[in-house]
């Protein structure tokens, strides 16, 4: 058996960079104990001193316009899976290991590709762009390939390395797929490399480090073989790109579209099918979703064939707002021969719950379009509310009970007459003042005396006098 390991140490960053139009300092951030930390930093960010483990505000202190993307483990796993689809062209025996490694049993494919080195070259050449740095190693066992790939991913990025099991003894124990505490214990017995470790009697070792450790060593050393994995391709294709910075013209979409199409091509090649139709979906800044379906007169599978058609259509498609996310999906496939099937399912019945209504509304209007009102604990009225996910807002008791339901988007300045505000006619002040003087911390301080006022038609208004300027403003309307 011959195993290849493709190890992608910065996969999450790769995804961010693929969605980016122009080079800029970027990081992937994670939340750890309520702190925002840098998980990966691209070269431009690292150049300015950003390193993984740093907090985001600190990194922002170093790089003024740092672009930050939240770490998305699901997307990362998805990308790894897609890479698995891509690798399907080389072997059906593929396994994802963790979030960053693909293990391929290629022993059975050697003949097809004319040996290990040509195969390695093909892998290197055909690996979709934008997944650098990566480690590529060949070894007789899966765990050995993995260990060696991790050990060399940074130092020999992008190079194909071939190892026999004889190269294991020289490796440091730090690359073992075991607990850190187990590694510390090994070092404390002078076992810094695999050489003395592998020489130890397994029974004695199991007693000290556990049977699991020894099972792992056996797998590493080829003393036992794991079952051969079988890869299955999903029934349809869908891939998307999030943009770090929104794209605002159609031409700039071409590059990410090409990227998605090349991922589609890998899928199609692996399945030996072609597509009669595909669809681009775009999520826009104003939370609209735009759909650009593309019907092909003949089923196609190569980027080179599809891209010119896309280019042609790009001019006609309308783009009302800048794009945040681009998705490509294909649901119908034809074997490179012929055939057709409908994957569409009819919608379910009419009887729907509140949540289903929200879901339905979201599906109809776009997820970002539906929200409810929430309260925020802030004395300043204009900061006292927010829009929230329906059903997710928390109940909050406002210390003041007499607050209007309607708040003007902007307080409206009122004329004053004889010290009283005028709205149509002079208002009668019923209650007040309630003084609100706070908000010094975010440069939006207010210093106001609020009153409940009555119009001559009986309507109650919420007005205030700005204390520094002594000007009157209308801020809210009571419902009575």
């Amino acid at each position: 058996m011959l195993w290849a390991c493709l190890h992608f140490p910065a996969l999450a960053l790769n995804l961010v960079e693929q969605g980016a139009a122009a080079p800029a300092p970027r990081v992937v951030e994670v939340s750890h104990r309520q702190r925002r930390l840098v998980l990966h930093a691209n070269a431009a960010a690292r150049e300015q001193g950003v390193v993984p483990g740093m907090t985001i505000p600190t990194a922002q202190g170093l790089v003024r316009d740092l672009q930050c993307r939240l770490y998305d483990p699901a997307a990362e796993q998805q990308a790894l899976t897609e890479l698995g689809h891509w690798a399907y062209e080389f072997t059906p025996h593929i396994r994802c290991h963790g979030q960053h490694s693909l293990l391929l049993e290629v022993g059975r494919s050697l003949k097809l590709f004319g040996g290990a080195r040509p195969l390695a070259r093909r892998l290197q050449q055909q690996l979709p762009a934008g997944f650098e740095p990566y480690g590529l190693t060949f070894a007789p066992t899966d765990m050995a390939a993995l260990l060696l790939a991790r050990a060399h991913a940074e130092t020999h990025a992008g190079q194909a390395l071939f190892f026999s099991l004889q190269s294991l003894p020289a490796c440091s124990v730090q690359w073992l797929e075991v607990e850190d505490s187990q590694k510390d214990l090994l070092c404390s017995m002078g076992l810094h490399t695999l050489e003395p470790l592998l020489a130890l009697p397994r029974g004695a070792l199991a007693r000290r480090l556990g049977q699991g450790f020894c099972d792992y060593l056996a797998q590493l050393n080829g003393e036992c073989e794991p079952p051969l994995p079988q890869w299955t391709l999903p029934p349809y294709f869908q891939a998307e790109l999030d943009f770090v910075q929104e794209l605002d013209n159609r031409q700039s979409l071409l590059f990410p579209m090409r990227h998605l199409l090349s991922r589609l091509e890998h899928y199609l090649r692996a399945r030996q099918v072609a597509v009669p139709a595909l669809e681009f979906s775009l999520w826009l800044r104003d939370r609209q979703r735009q759909q650009w379906p593309l019907m092909l007169s003949t089923p196609l599978y190569r980027v080179a064939d599809i891209l010119p058609l896309v280019q042609l259509h790009l001019e006609q498609w309308s783009l009302p707002a800048p794009v945040l996310t681009l998705q490509l999906s294909a649901r119908r496939f034809l074997p490179l021969s012929a055939g057709q099937q409908d994957l569409f399912q009819p919608h379910p019945g009419d009887d729907i719950s509140r949540y289903q209504l929200v879901d339905r509304l979201k599906a109809r209007l776009g997820g970002q379009q539906v929200h409810s009102l929430g309260m925020v604990a802030d004395h300043r009225p204009e900061y006292g509310w927010c829009s929230a996910t329906p059903g997710a807002g928390q109940a909050l008791q406002h210390p003041s009970e007499q607050r209007p339901f309607w708040l003007l988007r902007q307080p409206r300045k009122l004329r004053a007459s004889k010290g009283l505000p005028v709205y149509g006619a002079p208002l009668q002040l019923l209650k007040g003042p309630e003084r609100i003087e706070t908000g010094w911390w975010d440069q939006q301080p207010v210093n106001r005396d609020y009153y409940i006022a009555r119009r001559d038609n009986g309507q109650h208004l919420w007005v205030y006098r700005d204390r520094p300027s002594q000007d009157w403003f209308l801020h809210g309307l009571f419902a009575r």
């Binding site: 740093m54 202190g61 214990l185 017995m189 130890l200 004695a204 003042p433 706070t438 911390w441």
Partner: protein, 1028 residues
Amino acid sequence: MDYSELHCFSNFSFLRGASHPEELVQQAAALGYGALAITDECSVAGVVRAHVATRAHPIKLIVGADMVTEEQLHLVVLAPTREAYGQLCTLITRARSRSEKGHYQLRVKDLYPATDACLFIWLPTAGQCLQPNEYCQALLAATAERLWIGLENNLRQADADLCRQRQWLAQQLGRPVVACGNVHCHVPQRQPLQDIVTAIRLNTHVQSAGFQLHANRETSLRPVPELAQYFPAEALRQTQVISQRCTFSLTELRYEYPREVVPPGHSAQSWLRQLVAAGAQQRWPAGVPEKVQQQLDKELTLIHELAYEYYFLTVYDIVQFARSQRILCQGRGSAANSAVCFCLFITEVDPARSNLLFERFISKERNEPPDIDVDFEHERREEVIQFIYRKYSRQRAALTATLITYRIKSAIRDVGKAMGFDRTLVDQLAKSIAWWDKQEQLPQRLQELGIDVSNPRIQQFKSLVDTLLGFPRHLSQHVGGFIIAAGPLDQLVPIENAAMAERTVVQWDKNDIEALGLMKVDVLALGMLSAIRKCFDLLAPLRGQRWTLATLPAEDPATYHMLQQGDSIGVFQVESRAQMAMLPRLKPACFYDLVIEVAIVRPGPIQGDMVHPYLRRRRQLEPVNYASPEVEQVLKRTLGVPIFQEQVIELAMVAAGFSAGEADQLRRAMAAWKRKGQLRQYEEKLARGLLERGYEQSFARRIISQIRGFGEYGFPESHAASFALLVYASAWLKCHEPAAFCCALLNSQPMGFYSPSQLIQDVKRHGVAVRPVDVQHSQWDHGLEPGAVQPPGQPAIRLGMRLVKNLSRAGAEALVRARQQATFANMGDLQRRGQLSKRDMDALAHANAFASLSPHRFQARWEAQGLQRESPLLQQAHQAEPRVTLAPPSEADNLQEDYHSLGLTLGRHPMALLRDHPALQGYKRHQDLYALGHRRFVRIAGLVTGRQRPGTATGVVFITLEDETGNSNIVVWRDQVERFRAAVVHGRLLKIKGVVEREGDVIHVIAGQIEDGSELLGEMATRSRDFH
């Protein structure tokens, strides 16, 4: 319209109030209030400060407290009379004693009848107004006509309605309403800080604190005309009614000494005389020298005139207990070094042995309260404390509080957090500032961290930090200041629980207690006393003689010779880098020289520029002259240069005409130097006084700058003398019994300036053999073993298992017990008989303690991991395990493991191992420096074991580099610090190119270029102690 504020929080309502009591007093006086009540949250901790402030800003001060009962009744309790004050203190004590530190629990039924002299303001909720429940009824019953209903109007929306409801309730109950300000700060501008402390209290940031923040700035002290708009006239008038009923002032407090220290049939005077006479008999069995007897008579007369007998008897009583338990102790302080204290065994400083003038330690004119601090062995002080509690009960004895206040570091941290700044950034900032920089450098540091200083948030941050500085955070227990009274203490001051279990503290700190003229005894802990006692214990069986502090041979030339070489590692007080550099210059040759040595290497004398003049005069390089005979009298013993705090005070009296009272105020102002501005008025007065008395302008300037330098850091002669005694004792032991002394120091860790590693290297350099931790030989403690050939008569030190990381004491003791039956045959035998856990076995293997049972530590660790606690039968079954032979560790492996497990190595020094490394070619060792001349260029490398940035030397960093031959002192000037900042701050191994600076035997290297060589160390665990 007159107004008195009756509901006002100071910042002693921790993280609620945002103004100092002094600020509130000053502002209330400026606004023309009739009176001001300080009503902190179940506390009177701030009232003494307010009381003192009323001297400068006259206004009537009312003592009170804000409390919310368990039944949700919000009350302001005021003390109109001394009786009511006692009741208030008792009430607070009761409420506090039910809760852990910082909290309280009060119940309505506590009020009745224990508070029948107090006045109450009730701040009912809307619900309570509409439907008074049974607890409200209980409150009404308990308070009767001493209850007011408080009205509050801070222009919050609910205020107007609530005021109406409360007025309605008051009418129903037939009780008067009274206006309350609900004051949280003295001026509106303080509101942002109030928001910040609220956020800190809630552990959130201001952006998220929401409705917990005040909606506006109306909770400050407001002008009376404004208040007249917000409150009914009657409510304002009632503030005056209450204020007029309040006649109590803190000046009424009187203190009574505990009476049981005098046995029946004796007066305090006769008992003290009897004890002193008996002590003198013991001290001088051949008869008390005439001079000493005169001294005793004089002191006893003075003590009687000032009625201090009880004080001396109380201290005697405590010391007597310690002596009976063989706990070593030593008194210090203004009254401690008297012949009376020598005869009472409070001090071992022998009046006949040194030339101290004792009478200056107690002075009738100065009218200072007597001050005796007693140091005890640090590991046994708790026994003394428990004795005090036992003897006087917790009702009558309590620790004084120490006010923990915001320092620059904590202020940055908390304000940064409360403003929602990134934590790492705040950490970084706080760390580097506390370490390195003065507050003025804040903007520069911010800029260096890439922060835009012109950003308004940063401006706010800076100003909030400045204001928060010095704010009280919480009351902690004083390290050992006891207040002991004749009656229940809680009539005098509330007592509350400390963080430590079984500890209680009063709500006042030592300044408060001093301001009110109360008495305290400091029961302190001193590591060196533990070490000296342990050394005496080690020597008793070895030499057949039990030393005491008093019997050590006096004025031993060999001891002084050793100190003159700067050979002082481990010696009390004079072991620091700066002291070590001073010793060869000052060349102490008698006891009084040690007193000066202790006092002179302090920021005070250094900043006041007293060190060099003194040294020059001592070496007769410049003439000693005095501005007048009066000055000569004060300064003669220090060659005309003021070195001790007492001298400065005396100078103010004899040369500038200060009265005793003024001099005492000057002393306090010096102690409280940080509260700016106070010294200035004295400076002017001093200058005037000196010039009027014919002293020259230059003399006046010098004295004033010396006083300024003393400020915070002045060291009193009375303390220096007691310390000097311990310097001498420890130096004598180091000189004549280096092995026992080092062993005792190691057994008293943590203490002192040096790590065990440094102490052991030093003792090895003095020829003492040090043997490794070994399961066949070591005890838990370090011990002495016979057998070393050199130096003759010196035993060897056997390291104890207490040094081994992760080893349990119980495990080690079980091992020793098992060993007493028979030595161990192998590791399995040891583990079986000692029933040691796997973790303990592993820790011992890590420390290489199995060297006598196993080929090497890797093998031992392998075996330790394989051992299991099980029956012998199963054990045998496992012996079938194949024999495994692991490779032995290299020297570097051993070194790393040694440092990791023990923090030190008995093998070669890391630098010795690295000597041949190409990167260190051409680098000298410490020892090589002595062969180099002054101003010679040198390259030197070593491990960083010390890093100091003295406040007295602006921008300079002193680094101690350790190598296989000793410690070198590196001076890094400010420019170099900036240029090589990363290396200076973080480097563990430094390579330095510089110039030798040499004065006699004192050698420094002035760094020119600094390179971080830490990578050479790999993962070696060197520990660098960073002193700030």
